[in-house]
Subunit: 129 residues, 2 copies
């Protein structure tokens, strides 16, 4: 099913080396920088496959979709600077959340908190991004 092509390996390598949580556009640029011969369509197709295969995680929030490698954590997005940071929740809290759903087959938890990060809270700012 899933072939270990060079492009797949290289795109995965770029994602896993990402310090930030890129969206598809940023990811495309990073891939283009390091592996210029990889086409745009390949990035789109490959990332979707990696998500489907459970190797890469989607972060869906109000400003779009971001990607994360190997994530069993959650996210906070600053409405001012746009930075996305990781949040870790205990199994206890997660189980309490899951216990509120009658389905016994939860496959994914997309949790994104949005607000003003500590750094932005300190400085002056006017309005949100």
């Amino acid at each position: 099913m899933e072939r270990e092509t060079n492009q797949r390996k290289q795109i995965l390598e770029v994602i896993s080396n990402c310090y930030t949580h890129p969206n598809i556009k940023e990811l495309s640029m990073l891939v283009k920088e390091k592996y210029p011969s990889i086409g745009q369509a390949t990035v789109y197709r490959t990332v979707n496959k990696l998500v489907k295969d459970g190797i890469v995680t989607r972060i869906d929030c109000s400003t779009g979709t971001y990607y994360d490698f190997n994530s069993n954590h959650y996210h906070f997005r600053c409405l001012h600077c746009g930075k996305i940071s990781d949040i870790y929740l205990s199994d206890d809290v997660i189980n309490k959340i899951l216990s509120n759903v009658s389905s016994n087959k939860i496959i994914k938890v997309n949790l994104v908190l949005e607000g003003i990060c500590e750094e932005c809270s300190k400085g002056d700012y006017n309005g949100f991004k």
Copy 2:
């Protein structure tokens, strides 16, 4: 700032009467059905304003963005039938989640669980939507 135009009232009325959680396309169609003279661009612009004003809530998940009226609850989306249902969490659980973030200004919590709903779990199915 926000003018109480007929279009705004009518679009809000359509959203608030929605039994389901429509995406922008479904919402456009519902608006078109009931108020054919309202243009497509107006639906887009107005919904975005209603979200910005905190009157309508965005639900962001892997299949796109859905809208909800007056929501202080959370959501579950079935990967098989696509249905979105409401989840209610106690303040206790929410506070435990929030306590994991160093920011003291959380403005929004986007929480979407995905899995197979009870109804779909009962029946046979092959593959996800």
